[in-house]
Structures are given as C-alpha cells and as structure tokens.
C-alpha cells in the first residue's frame, strides 16, 4: 500500500507563489503523470513530495502520515532525476547499492538486491562499469535501478526521458510501463511531453501557473477537457479554436453559427447561454473531415505528408486551421477545400475559457491504462 494525499499545498519563494494550493489524491499502484508547460510548477511539486523542497503551507500525507517535516530519505520514496544524477566515481553496482550501504546492509545482501534489480533492467553485464562508460539509455536504466533497489513505496520521476533521443525515448516509455506492471508500485512522473503523459498515465494531472487545471484519465482529458487550456495542451497537433455565436440554446445542445454562416448544434449543456453570445468552438485536427459538402472552407497553405497521414494547414480568413487527413489525399497547396466535422466531436468554451459540459459521456473516458493492458495480454495468449 502506498497512497499520497496533497492537501492545499503551497510553495512560495520570497513573495511569489509557485504552487498555489494544490489538492491531489494518488491511489495505491497508480501511475500519475504531472504534465504542463515549463514553469508550471510540476517539478517543484515533485520535489516537495520528495522532500527536497520545503512546503510553505498545506499537508503532504503518505500512507496516512503527515510527512512535511520528515527528511527525504525517511519518506520511503525514490527519485529518478532528469540528469540521472549518477555518482560518477562509483561503479554501476556501487551506484545502485549506495542507499543500502548507507543503511548498513551487509555486503552479501546488498549484492543480492543489486543483482535482482540489475536483472529486471538487464544491467548485469554493466555492473563493474562507471557511469562515464555507459550510453544515455544505460545511464537512465542505472538511475531507475538505483530507485528500485531502495524498494520505495512511491517512485518519483522528474522528466527522466527528456535527455534521450526520440527512438530511445519510445523504447524507455514501453520499458517504464512494463516496469510499473512488474513492480506493482505507485509512480509519479513529471513530463512536459503530452505523448508520454497520454501513453503511460492512469491519471494525468495538468498543471499551469501553479494550479491544477484538470485531473483525469488520458481519455477523459482528451474527450472532456475542462477548459480551453487543457483542450489545447492535450492532443497533437493542437486543437483548432473557432469564434462562433450562439444562435439557439436548448436541452438538445447549443446551436452556434460558424465562420462562413453555417449553423451546427453541439450537444453540450448550455440552457443559460444568451442568443448572440460569443463562444469558442474547439475541434481537433483529427476530427475535421475533408468533405465537399462541408460547412467550412479555406485554402491550403502548407501540406505535410507523413505517409499514413497528411497534415493540412488551411487558411480560413484570419485563422489557420490544422486538419489531419488521410495519407493519400490528392490535394495540393493553394487548393480550396471544404471540410466539416461531426457536431458531437466539437467542444464549446465560454468567455472564461471553461468548457460547456458535454451531454454525453464518451464511452472510453473512464478507460484506464490497465484496461488496455488486460486486453493486450488476452490477445497475446
């Protein structure tokens, strides 16, 4: 069992608050990802949990125990640093066994535990090497191994993959997911990369400016973003935003007038929306469809062919709209295209940037990462 609760956590440096009252619950064996743009406070929050930064206000509770005044080593956590922070003067084995050595564990037992962690991470042939003689991916694995050896109740990862090249990052991502399953541990992971967040998390915590914007499963955040910031941050390429006017608001949804004059009814709650009020309509590039009958029209400015998919950057008056289309679309630059979308895929945001709640819950919004795993295991057998 390892749970973590943050209750109204505040961190201030001098007069500036960088974490502004964060409440969060992390359940046992959960993989929680903190994601947000740089400077949003996600690393600070992680370091506060680790005990490397003091907490200005609020409570950090691990397994029911208030930990604010407990030192980093005694919180039962292990942390993997962005820079790996391996001890350069020690061999891989000594690096991984350092915490045990400090704890006074006898040499034989130490070696046994290190070997076990090394086996999990396939580090056995490297145990006698110094960090200098390792590749980036290997160093990363040693850093993770050092955390495993401590047998912590919660693993903390501070942007662990950002120093790796793209191919290795994908590989380590899979390895971390596998590790989470094998160790059955609670993990908290900080990243600015929303793909890492989407692929690994049970629960994503989106942070901005020291406050939590939304907490939820990846699919929940993707399909039901609470506000414009989350909508724009989750998903790649970014969601398109169009200015629209309310034409009619009723129980079936809100009808809005799109740029170009067409009217569409988006199934969201908005009975109190005034007719004529300005809203923003959000629609993801992958939900825009090229369609000669489509309600929207524009001119292609740039075409990026990725093979399987093609990104179209379409000029619509002042606005540049991104469309993810099929890889084999025959259009060329400067072509005029019509496109449209399914009204149920669209989101509406009010003047404060808050989303109007959807009338229908997306069927996959409650999906957890484990659910993917179970089905993949079943298909393996």
């Amino acid at each position: 069992m390892a749970t973590l609760q943050l209750k109204q956590i505040v961190k201030s440096f001098d007069d500036t608050q960088v974490i502004k009252g964060v409440d969060l619950e992390v359940n046992d064996r959960e993989f929680v990802v903190f994601v947000g743009p740089s400077g949003c406070g996600k690393s600070t929050l992680l370091r506060m949990i680790a005990g490397l930064e003091s907490t200005s206000d609020g409570d950090i509770v691990i397994d029911g125990q208030r930990m604010n005044d407990v030192g980093p080593a005694d919180r039962g956590l292990a942390m993997v640093f962005q820079s790996y922070a391996l001890y350069p003067h020690m061999t891989v084995e000594d690096n991984m066994g350092f915490s045990l050595r400090l704890a006074g564990v006898p040499k034989d037992e130490r070696r046994q535990k290190v070997l076990e962690a090394a086996r999990i991470l396939q580090l056995e042939p490297l145990l006698d090497r110094k960090p200098k003689a390792l590749s980036g991916g290997q160093r990363q694995r040693v850093a993770i191994g050092r955390a495993i050896v401590r047998n912590p109740s919660i693993f903390l990862f501070d942007e662990p993959l950002s120093n790796l090249d793209a191919a290795l990052r994908v590989q380590m991502r899979i390895e971390l997911a596998r590790l989470h399953e094998e160790l059955d541990a609670t993990m908290i992971y900080v990243t600015h990369d929303q793909i890492e967040a989407m692929t690994m998390a049970d629960k994503i915590v989106v942070l901005q400016g020291g406050v939590i914007e939304q907490v939820g499963s990846p699919m929940e955040l993707y399909h039901h973003p609470r506000n414009r910031f989350v909508a724009g941050f989750i998903g790649s390429p970014k969601m398109n935003f169009l200015d629209v006017q309310v034409v009619e608001a009723g129980a079936e949804g809100v009808s809005v007038c799109l740029p170009g004059g067409a009217v569409t009814q988006v199934p969201v709650e908005g009975k109190d929306q005034r007719v004529g009020a300005s809203l923003e309509l959000g629609i993801r590039p992958e939900h825009l469809v090229l369609d000669d009958e489509g309600a929207l029209t524009g001119q292609i400015q740039v075409l990026e062919r990725l093979g399987g998919q093609t990104s179209l950057y379409v000029q619509m008056g002042e606005l540049m709209v991104t469309i993810m289309a099929d890889g084999d679309v025959a259009h060329r630059v400067h072509d005029k295209v019509n496109f449209g979308f399914e009204a149920g895929r669209a989101h509406l945001f009010d003047a404060d940037g808050m989303a109007l709640p959807s009338l229908h819950q997306h069927p996959l919004a409650g999906l957890r990462r484990q659910d993917n795993r179970v089905s993949s295991e079943a298909s393996d057998q």
């Binding site: 680790a50 490397l52 005694d74 942390m79 640093f81 922070a85 400090l102």
Partner: protein, 300 residues
C-alpha cells in the same frame, strides 16, 4: 620570408583553380607556426628570467665565500664548505621540521574549516553569500603589519609566542579566505542533483560531504591544499615576528644568516637552497595535480 612569398603566390591572379583553393591555407599555417615559435620563445625567456635567481643561488651555495663575491662566473670548483658551516651553526632539520608541521598543520586545519563553509555557501546560498565571500577576501587586502601589534599582544597573553600552535593558527587564518574561495568555486561546479540523489538515498549532510562531495572534487581540494602548503611554507612576515628559536621555520632560518657578521653570500645561498629544496621538490612532484586542479572547471 616564406610567409611573404606564399602570400604573393596566392594573390597572383593567374594561379590555377587548384592552387587558388589550396593557397589560402598555406600561409595561414606558416603564420600560425611562426606565432607559436615566437610564443614558445617568449615562454622560455619568461621562465628563464624567473628561474635564473634560483639557479644562481644554487650555484653560489657551492662556491667559497671568496668566489661568491668575485666576478660572476659559471666555472669554479664546487665545494660543500658552506653547507657544512651552515649546518654547524644551526640545525637545519629542526627548522625544516617546524616548517613541515606548521605548513601541513595549518593547511589541514584550514581545509577542515573551509570544506563545511564552502559546502554551505555553494549548495545552500543565501542573499548574503556573495557578500560574505567578498568580505572574506577583503581581509587579504589589509596589510598584515596593521594587525601585528594586537596579534602579538594576544599571542603573548595566551602564551602562543614562539610555538608551532600559534604559528599554525596564524597561517590557518591567513589562508582561510583563499581556501574557502577556491573550494567554493570547485564545489559550485558539482551538479546539485548528485547531492540530492545522495539525500534521497539516505545520506546525512556529513555522509554527503564524505562519500560524494569530497571524492568528486578531490582534484580541486588537492590543488587548494597544495597552494595552502606552499603559501604557508613561504610565509616570512609572521614567522619572523612571532617566533624566535623554538618554533622558527625555514624562513627564519634563512633570515638568521643575513645579518650579524655582514653578508656571507655563499652561506646565505646554501641555507636558502636547503630551505626551498623541499617545497621545490614537493611542487615539482605535484605540479600535474596543481594544474589539473586549477583548470578543473575550465576543461571539464
């Protein structure tokens, strides 16, 4: 000459395409070589100028008193007379022992105080850290003679005059600002993450320093220590004023040959040679370490 000719060649308009692409490279290499040659020569001249007095002193030590004051000459019959006479008048080893004890003792003490101070300044800085460092360094700008009387009186009252302990304390205080400053710059180069990883692994502050900080900055600590030893060894002002016979180091030993019966160049040279010999050998053996430490941050 060659440089000039090459330049002319490359600038002739009817040179072929191949020459035209090659030629600009050639005079450049020659210029670099000439420049390097000149710099090397300059280096030797400077080194020679610095080394010459020492060289001459060593030679003079092996001359007779008569030969020492005669016309300077490289050709003479070497003799150990001066050395024997010097040793008969004062026991070299007693002074040398004092020098060793005081130089190494004060260095050890300075490191012991400076490592924790530099640690806190490098890794737990406050708004006043920079100011504190500058203030410490500013004490080195005070002429020592300005505090001679108060220190002399303090030493007299505490019974520290002419003791190794007293001299060690003064040298420690004298070198502390430089030692702290140097260690601070070495420590600052160490990524904070490594110490934090240690903290996560359960290291106390003391263990952080012993197991992580010190092994990782050893070249820096060593060169700082070496510098402190050399500065203490060469220090003359305090040793001459605060010691007489019991705790007098080699600087006082040299000085004792300069006055009473006028100047005896050969004996003075012999004494000086013996006084600087240990630190010269020490410096020569550790020069690699010194250079490595002093350029630690730059080449890493």
């Amino acid at each position: 000459m060659t440089t000039v000719r090459n330049k002319q060649l490359s600038s002739t308009p009817n040179a072929g395409l191949a020459t035209a692409t090659q030629a600009p490279g050639r005079p450049l290499v020659t210029t670099v070589n000439t420049k390097r040659l000149l710099l090397t020569a300059l280096g030797w001249v400077v080194a020679g100028t610095i080394f010459f007095p020492i060289f001459w002193m060593v030679l003079t030590g092996f001359k007779t008193e008569a030969a020492a004051i005669a016309d300077p000459s490289l050709i003479f019959s070497p003799t150990l007379d001066s050395y024997i006479e010097v040793q008969q008048r004062a026991d070299y080893f007693k002074f040398a022992m004092n020098s060793v004890v005081v130089a190494f003792g004060s260095t050890l003490l300075a490191l012991l105080i400076a490592i924790p101070s530099a640690y806190s300044m490098a890794f737990l800085p406050t708004k006043r850290t920079k100011g504190t460092l500058l203030w410490m360094l500013s004490t080195k700008m005070l002429p020592p003679v300005g505090v001679l009387v108060p220190i002399y009186l303090l030493f007299r009252d505490f019974g520290l005059l002419d003791t190794r302990t007293g001299l060690t304390i003064v040298y420690t205080l004298m070198n502390l600002p430089i030692v702290v400053w140097m260690l601070y710059t070495f420590f600052k180069d160490l990524p904070k993450d490594i110490l934090e990883a240690g903290r996560m692994d359960g290291a106390s502050t003391f263990q952080e320093v012993i197991f992580l900080l010190m092994p990782l900055t050893l070249p820096g600590i060593a060169s700082t220590g070496l510098l402190s030893v050399i500065l203490s060894w060469n220090e003359a002002f305090w040793s001459l004023n605060l010691t007489s016979s019991q705790a007098a180091p080699l600087t006082a030993y040299i000085a004792s040959f300069s006055s009473p019966e006028g100047l005896f160049w050969a004996k003075l040279s012999a004494a000086s040679t013996m006084a600087i010999a240990p630190i010269l050998v020490f410096g020569w053996l550790t020069q690699k370490q010194m250079v490595r430490g002093l350029t630690f941050g730059a080449v890493k």
